[in-house]
Amino acid sequence: MKGYTSVVKTSQAQPPQEDEVDADQAIIDRVLAGDRESFATLIGRYSDPLYRHAVGMTGSPDDAADILQNSFIKAYQHLGEVRGRFDAWVFRIVANGCKDWLKNIRRSHLSYEEDDQPSGYETPEEELDRGELRGDLDEALGALPPSLREAFVMKHVEGRSYEEMAELLETSVGALKMRVHRAREALQKLLEERYL
């Protein structure tokens, strides 16, 4: 028996299974046949991970909502062009929307809205410390080039596997691992003086 404990971090988002992909195609067929309301099912199925991506990339819940709305409208207008997985296709529309947003904005400090999760911190000092990390992490993420930021957000905020990321971004697992590692090292450099 080995004399050590092995530690593994488990938090992976799961890509849709084959039957879900088929179900998406059935919904698309219904929408294209004139049942507009069915599009709401696709929005409900995929809006959360797409919204997380947009918030992670923009740092702004309001801008993320705008990007998501515009992306789903484009997806609806071009639904007949879907080939393969709908979730991957609509992800690329959102990802491109985020990149366009980054090109066009001069970014100022942006913060996340509180959610209703209990903090789990014992003291007000710890709570304050957590809030500071949140703001500093936003700022540090904003300093990363878009490709590194995208890779970090997909890995750490969306919880995707490298294989899923490679499929969505149409690049190699090795290239994405390198981007995520570089993003981590840049973030650590930006935050280490205060937090390490």
């Binding site: 971090k9 488990t10 919204y51 690329r92 690049t171 650590q188 450099k189």
Partner: protein, 97 residues
């Protein structure tokens, strides 16, 4: 008009000459070189979801503590949900078309 061809996603990177896909992202998407810290391999492996010997993580105690805090924050962001009003707004916009 917007280009919706998914194959165009990330085209700016593809258009930059690169020797292999394992190289770092193209310099074109940043204006200045990034400074970077040394993050121990065990920390990268742990963050990547690989099995890591606990003693290796404790050998990088400061970095482990730092990344656990970052993971806690990013984990919180992983629970962010779409504003409840947004799907309805999207459907209303679609119906206006």
């Amino acid at each position: 008009m917007d280009n919706l061809d998914p194959r165009d996603a990330g085209r700016e990177e593809v258009s930059t000459p690169r020797k292999t896909t394992e190289q770092e992202p193209a310099m074109t998407d940043r204006e200045v070189p990034l400074a970077s810290a040394h993050t121990p391999e065990a920390i990268h492996a742990w963050l990547d979801g690989e099995n890591v010997n606990e003693s290796q993580l404790h050998a990088a105690e400061k970095e482990y503590a730092f990344w656990r805090r970052v993971e806690e924050e990013t984990g919180k962001r992983r629970r962010i949900q779409t504003p409840t009003s947004l799907p309805g707004e999207i459907m209303r916009a679609i119906k206006k078309d």
